[in-house]
Symmetry: C2
């Protein structure tokens, strides 16, 4: 039990301990770990010799710490638990606890490459039916490999960053026009943060997932459906996605999710050997999507067809190098039911069915001023809950000029 | 006239002065500028106070220098020309000239995001005919916007880096199989290097190209056509490209290409306002492609349908931020004739027609051990020629394990 009384029973107790980067009291960004509704200042803790990580905790981003690898991640975590549970450390550590409401949380790591997968069967087949009515809902490759593509790493931002409605080109019956996107959407996703790099020409197999991946964030891959629909053939999504991708401020380490692994859906037909993960496990993360405060969906991550280990093995099978800070996302998390989908495209079935919000207003796609909050929890040890924080964004009006 | 006698008449005279990063005599990487067959050590020059750029030339990559912006780029260039032409500087500068054959040239800048366009009408329609026989050779969006997508920044490498044949998944009549790519190809391209960043939510218009772009590299976007053909729907190329993208070691500044601008092909239908560049200019870069020493193609960059300024305006129209080190490439440069194409897919028309090399052997796609060299020149001032260096790669065998 932690001596941080307020953390007892919290989804952010010492069984969780997610890492982030915060600013407070006008100081420059520092690494911290969340415990209850406090941030433990790890920069201060390392400066005081309370935890030792070769100054990796005294940096403005998590990258140096992410690069240390699993043995040192575990050592640091074990020490932090010790600091927060042994009464003898209380006097030294208590002054390093900063109330969460006194900090600003910033982007926790510098993103290397950003890859987005498309691994929910329900999402892929919904999108197929909406965009290609009468056609195949799943394309022939979908069950053979985790379809994915590269997004724009430079526009991955911290939760809370305003999402400026993108300008762009869309097609109309009278030809292409330029203007603010009229079909602005979300994609509720889970992101995996790479710590340990791999060399060019090498490969990271399904069994090496935990040696390279440090932890998990929530991710909103904001999407302009009108821009995307016009631009995406034949090279895939580009400007319909690259204006903004938001991530949650807390990177939840894999150690905190040890009790959240569950059997992933059976795969039929059988996958090629390099994608065969035994055991074949997904993460039981339970997402929530709130639209201006109205809970509109609860996407279940456990039902994803492709697992995080398979995604990583596929991503590197061609010899692509990994860098510390690489981020790969699951793709939109959608379950089988309409109240489990991770995009408004699906929730409104292509904009055809309105959603009623608690204030009595209705929506198809996002209006200026709308706020979307994606949260998640996972089962922790001994009946506890692990919180994954939230990724929040509010739509700012387009800037036409 | 430069006092570096060997540089007179060279495509790397003081009218060119491309920047790179080199290693020599066991020392760590330093910034240099090429003059004739020498590298002028700019790290040494700044250390000696011969050129001043706030220590931006004393870094292991060009990024800090790229971030300085056009006014300082011009100041530094003017000063380097002075150092290399005024006899009074000879005694101080000559010791800083390192023969090119004594240096190793490394990746000149840390790549931010890497975007690849698809801006040659001949290439796009050739690929359309090869991949979609009987269908439209150009898709409906192609003349309305410069189609592009994000590639993997972390696998952009320096010229000379071995290109390991990728393993991966391809489809066969008997279903998907895993193995070394059997259709390994090149894409001869021109890359544009962003110096000055732009804020998220802002836009860089067609007229602001020269305020943000520092210069030009040659680029080979190595492509595994079998992997690409199976994976690319609906989200675009992924592993078929992400194993390796090579760039030339010398970044040729826009100043050196001032005489290379020529009218770009007329665009019909007219483009939307945000893409209208007046004057509508392309660069008269004359590329060469050598396959094991046999010249197989001379792609003309001047014929590209979309201009570099239009590509940049499109890339940022949705508010996407630019970072120093962002790299965007033209897409495969192909002219109208078969001996002007920038890929072997086109040269062999999908692998149907063999190419005869000078040693009497024939090829469709790349064999292990093959070397491809892409070079280019441009017209310089007063009848001179500007050399863009070369991007070279040799195919190493796949690593099956």
């Amino acid at each position: 039990m932690t001596w941080v009384a307020e953390a007892a029973g919290s989804a952010y107790g010492v069984h969780n301990l997610p890492y982030g980067v915060f600013r407070s009291a006008g100081r420059s960004p520092r690494i911290g770990v969340r415990v209850g509704d406090f941030v433990l200042d790890l920069d201060g803790a390392e400066a005081a010799g309370l935890v030792l990580a070769g100054d990796a905790l005294r940096q403005p981003t998590l990258n140096a710490f992410l690069a240390l690898g699993r043995a040192q991640w575990t050592t640091v975590r074990t020490r932090i638990v010790e600091l927060l549970t042994a009464e003898e450390h209380r006097a030294a550590v208590q002054p390093l606890l900063v109330p969460l409401d006194q900090v600003e949380l910033v982007l926790p790591f510098e993103v290397g490459d950003y890859v987005d997968f498309y691994s929910s069967e329900h999402h892929a087949s919904n999108v197929g039916q909406i965009f290609r009515p009468g056609g195949q809902s799943l394309l022939p490759n979908w069950r053979h490999l985790p379809v994915g593509y590269h997004g724009r790493a430079g526009t991955v931002v911290a939760s809370g960053t305003p999402v400026v409605r993108p300008m762009g080109q869309r097609n109309t019956p009278d030809g292409p026009v330029y203007g603010p996107s009229t079909r602005l959407d979300i994609e509720a996703e889970v992101g995996f943060v790479v710590g340990v790099p791999s060399p060019l020409g090498g490969r990271v197999g399904v069994d090496d997932f935990a040696a390279h991946v440090f932890g998990v964030v929530l991710l909103n891959d904001w999407s302009a459906r009108d821009i995307q629909a016009w631009e995406y053939q034949p090279l895939g999504p580009f400007l319909g996605k690259s204006f903004c991708t938001s991530i949650s401020p807390w990177v939840v380490p894999l150690e905190a999710l040890a009790d959240a692994w569950v059997p992933a859906p059976a795969q039929e037909p059988a996958v090629l050997d390099y994608l065969r993960d035994v055991p074949h496990l997904g993460l039981d993360l339970r997402l929530t999507v709130d639209w201006n405060g109205t809970r509109v969906s609860e996407p279940p991550f456990a039902g994803m067809y492709w697992t995080p280990a398979q995604q990583l093995a596929h991503l590197t099978v061609n010899g692509a190098a990994l860098r510390t800070g690489d981020l790969y996302a699951s793709g939109t998390v959608s379950g089988p039911r309409r109240d489990q989908v991770g995009s408004f495209l699906e929730l409104t079935w292509g904009g055809a069915e309105k959603v009623l919000l608690a204030d009595g207003s209705t929506r198809t796609f996002l209006a200026d001023g709308d706020t979307v909050t994606i949260g998640a929890t996972a089962p922790g040890p001994d009946g506890t809950t692990v919180g994954l924080g939230e990724v929040v964004g509010t739509i700012a009006p387009a800037r036409p000029d």
